[in-house]
């Protein structure tokens, strides 16, 4: 059997951790090969080695059965290896075309010859059905199109081995479907794809074979069509994972949050970002705001938590008017907020873990006294939370938040918010970018809040999550609510229609 790429017995260690331990990865020409593993399992390290970003401690890389040395991304490029990074590497004030040719411009006596380049780009975009506008600025196009630009960049350089690093994390369901189609077309044209992900559905849909890593060790390489999801997740996590969340019956208590005719205007355009929204959340209830990203979820949450000022309407918490209370007062009253962007809002990345765990309570007893922080108390408290929520990091409470993995950062935020013992938990995409093990854990915690008779407002883009976890689904479209649905009765297709604005619930019609 001949392989296009073979990474043989790769070992790479960093101070304090062996990221890859004797890992072997073999790609057949023309296949879509998935690389599956939890956060921190060593996927990124392995791919970085292949792309020349790291040098392995030991092991060998063979391309077309020839041993090669890849010292930097340029070497990788010369060997026909291209990569779409999770966070795109595009110049925002350049056009699509300029980004594609960047670094390999065709020139004549020092002058750019963009016309030729443009022809080639258009030809490629036709051939692979990658719809783009070559003259649009990157800053003006959608994330999905930016990704197509990244793919075209690889094709323009005649790469034949394409690495996709968690390409679906930033896409809407429709864009994901389109990407899957593109990937299949690429392989039909003879390209080989290495697809890094931790979403089993996507692997099942598109991949031919799958290599699974766990804690830096290769567990297995399986044929995707003959292996079911439960088996793959068992291999990945090392135990059987519950996909169905166990949700006991729960009596609804009294109303905890009531929003009336809430309006938030955009400060720049004056458009209504949140358009006359009214709803309520009861104790012991998980209410989910579902919708496609960018339909007003973020301003709604910021308005509720006090981060954004409100242009109309009122917010009541346990019957008390809290419309204009500052964030801190709301936290004291019993609000907790798991923000959508854990790096932007959730953590001070340059603070240590223990300092982050007291981000709300640093100025209260027992963590401080007369304005002075009590570090020993904070450290002990951090140790307790780290144990309770299984937050893993290199140096415990002293670890800089920046150096922790995404899943553990999210656990830290969860620990901090839940330990406030909130009456109302507002969780925005709490499982974004996490692996199945961590997702299961977070869902359990949400259900536990519900069982403790607390209110939960969940904002999610993941349809599975919306349908599995919530008691009631509110669909948001262009800043307004368009449906109030029972997850037991609604189907995925129907939900999709509401989310796309093609259907409006009877009571929401205007």
């Amino acid at each position: 059997m001949s392989y296009i790429i073979e990474m043989r017995q790769i070992t790479k260690s960093f101070p304090g951790i062996v990221a890859n331990d004797d890992v072997t990865l073999q790609l057949k020409p023309g296949e879509i090969h998935a690389l599956l593993g939890e956060n921190g399992a060593g996927k990124s390290t392995l791919v970085s080695i292949l792309f020349g970003l790291y040098k392995p401690d030991s092991g060998q890389i063979l391309i077309d059965n020839e041993p090669v040395e890849i010292r930097n991304p340029n070497d990788a490029n010369a060997l026909g290896i291209g990569m779409v990074h999770q966070h795109f590497k595009l110049v925002h004030n350049f056009t699509v075309l300029e980004n594609i040719v960047l670094g390999v411009e065709t020139t004549s006596r020092g002058f750019l010859k963009m016309e030729e380049a443009k022809e080639k780009v258009l030809e490629l975009s036709q051939k692979y059905q990658l719809r783009i506008d070559p003259d649009a600025l990157i800053s003006e196009i959608t994330v999905g199109m930016q990704q197509r630009v990244e793919i075209l960049k690889m094709l323009y350089r005649d790469n034949r081995i394409l690495i996709f690093d968690e390409p679906t994390a930033v896409l809407t369901p429709q864009e994901i479907r389109e990407l899957m189609k593109i990937m299949r077309e690429l392989t039909a044209e003879g390209k080989t794809i290495l697809f890094i992900t931790h979403k089993l559905n996507e692997i099942k849909e598109v991949a031919d074979r799958c290599t699974i890593l766990r804690k830096g060790v290769k567990v297995a390489t399986v044929d995707v069509p003959t292996t079911d999801k439960t088996e793959m997740s068992r291999l990945m996590v090392g135990r059987t994972v519950n996909f169905q969340v166990a949700k006991p019956e729960q009596e609804l208590g009294e109303q905890i949050l009531r929003v009336e005719n809430l309006v938030v205007k955009s400060p720049t355009t004056g458009k209504n970002l949140v358009n006359d929204i009214s709803f309520s959340v009861a104790k012991g209830e998980i209410v989910c705001i579902a919708g496609i990203d960018g339909n007003g979820q973020s301003p709604l949450v910021y308005a509720l938590t006090g981060l954004l000022s409100i242009d109309g309407g009122r917010i009541y918490y346990k019957g008390q008017d809290v419309t204009n209370l500052p964030t801190k007062r709301k936290t004291e009253l019993g609000f907790a907020h798991i923000p959508e962007d854990r790096h932007k809002h959730g953590l001070v990345l340059d603070y240590r873990l223990d300092e982050n765990l007291v981000l709300h309570s640093y100025n209260r007893e027992p963590f401080s006294n007369r304005g002075f922080l009590k570090f020993s108390v904070i450290e002990n408290y951090a140790r307790e939370l780290i144990g309770k929520y299984d937050i893993r990091s290199a140096l415990g409470g002293r670890t800089k938040a920046r150096s922790m993995s995404g899943g553990n950062q999210q656990k830290a935020i969860l620990a901090r918010e839940l330990d406030l013992d909130p009456e109302l938990l507002i969780a925005v995409q709490p499982t974004r970018g996490l692996d199945v093990g961590a997702i299961e854990f977070i869902h359990e915690q949400l259900i536990r809040q519900r069982s403790a008779d607390k209110g939960v407002l969940l904002v999610s883009l993941e349809l599975d999550e919306v349908l599995d976890v919530s008691d009631r689904i509110l669909v948001i479209f262009e800043g307004a609510l368009v449906a109030d649905l029972d997850p037991k009765e609604v189907t995925v297709e129907e939900l999709g229609l509401y989310m796309a604005g093609l259907k409006v619930g009877a009571e929401f019609a205007r």
Binding site: P15, K328, L347, L359, F372, R402
Partner: protein
């Protein structure tokens, strides 16, 4: 490393200017304050006093996410306030006259820091620009005020302050004889510790740094970021202003000259803060170090070199330490594999470079 590279560059400059004396010249710089024994060291500490204060001012603001490039303006206005009180406020007991004068410099600096902070907080005006403008306002205002209130028209400078307004020497002049040494350095030490405690041990410092590192997370935690920006700039300004007070109340025969020149101590403060990595104790060491080679540079004149050469060497050292910083973050990045850090390293280096450009400008002036 950076320091060595700076000296090598300095040596090369000395060689090009006058190759015969170059070796002797670089040795004089190395010897710095030690050239004249304890007197020299006293002189070093005397020079270090104001630039440690401005360094603390810049470093403090930097830790809280603000770039206070207006340390010079705050320094000058603080100096004027101190001199004004020192000359005109009569009838105070000698034991508290100097304290009142220093307090005046502290307040004047705080007011000068308040304005850019206030504009930043309410209107989000970039504090770099406003504080630079405040430097010019301060320069002209001090010239005008000196002429109007404490003018010595024969020398075109401020009048001497009363003896009671000078900072006591507390016997330091005995330890370091024949120098301009005075108690100011002890007051500086107190403030170094104070700034350290505020930043590292208090909830206030926790809030300030949280907003400095990540403003969004600070807001998310419900920290009143706007108020903190104003406080931070006021504290920074006060530290700078006190630096001005300490220099002009040192009893060393230093008077405020009426010239169109922005006080250099403020720009030195930026160098000191950068070299000291914005850490209070680092700033203390960096301030003494820069003062040390400055004294050496002063002695260079014995060999017919221009004193300004030492400014070039200092600038080189700062450049190289900025490079070192960049290099180190790159290395770190190689280990941790986070491309984000690289870009942040660039930002830091950019900031460092823009600061240096400002320093250069200051030197040119």
């Amino acid at each position: 490393m950076a320091i060595m590279a700076g000296f090598i560059l300095g040596f090369l400059i000395l060689l090009t200017v006058n190759y015969q004396q170059a070796l002797a010249g670089i040795l004089i710089i190395f010897k710095g304050g030690l050239n004249k024994g304890l007197a020299g060291m006293g002189q070093v500490l005397y020079y270090a006093t104001p630039i440690i204060m401005t360094g603390l001012a810049v470093g403090f603001a930097f830790k809280t996410g603000l770039f206070n490039i207006g340390a010079s303006g705050q320094f000058s206005i603080g100096a004027f306030a101190a001199v004004y009180v020192g000359v005109n406020l009569k009838g105070l007991p000698a034991s508290i006259h100097w304290m009142v004068a220093l307090l005046a410099s502290l307040l004047a600096g705080a007011i000068w820091g308040f304005l850019p902070g206030f504009l930043k907080a309410v209107r989000n005006v970039n504090e770099v620009i406003t504080s630079i403008m405040m430097n010019y306002i301060s320069m002209s205002a001090v010239n005008m005020l000196v002429k109007a209130t404490v003018y010595n028209k024969y020398k075109n400078e401020s009048l001497p302050v009363m003896a009671s307004a000078n900072v006591p020497k507390w016997g330091l002049d005995k330890i370091f004889p024949y120098s301009s040494m005075n108690g100011g350095i002890l007051i500086v030490l107190i403030f170094v510790v104070l700034v350290y405690v505020i930043l590292e041990k208090t909830t206030f410092g926790y809030e300030l740094k949280a907003c400095g590192f990540n403003l969004d997370a600070g807001l998310y935690a419900g920290i009143n970021a706007k108020r903190n920006i104003v406080y931070s700039m006021m504290i920074s300004g006060a530290l700078s202003g006190l630096g001005g007070g300490l220099l002009y109340l040192s009893g060393s025969g230093k008077y405020i000259k009426v010239i169109d020149l922005i006080a250099n101590e403020g720009f030195d403060g930026i160098s000191v803060a950068l070299l000291g990595m914005s850490q209070p104790f680092g700033i203390l060491a960096a301030g003494i170090f820069i003062a040390y080679i400055k004294v050496g540079g002063f002695n260079l004149q014995l060999l017919n070199y221009d004193q300004e050469i030492i400014n070039i060497i200092i600038a080189a050292i700062i450049y190289f330490s900025a490079f070192a910083l960049l290099f180190r973050t790159r290395l770190l990045n190689l280990f941790s594999g986070r491309e984000k850090i690289v870009s942040e390293g660039f930002v830091e280096a950019d900031l460092a470079e823009s600061a240096e450009n400002k320093i250069e400008e200051g030197i040119e002036k």
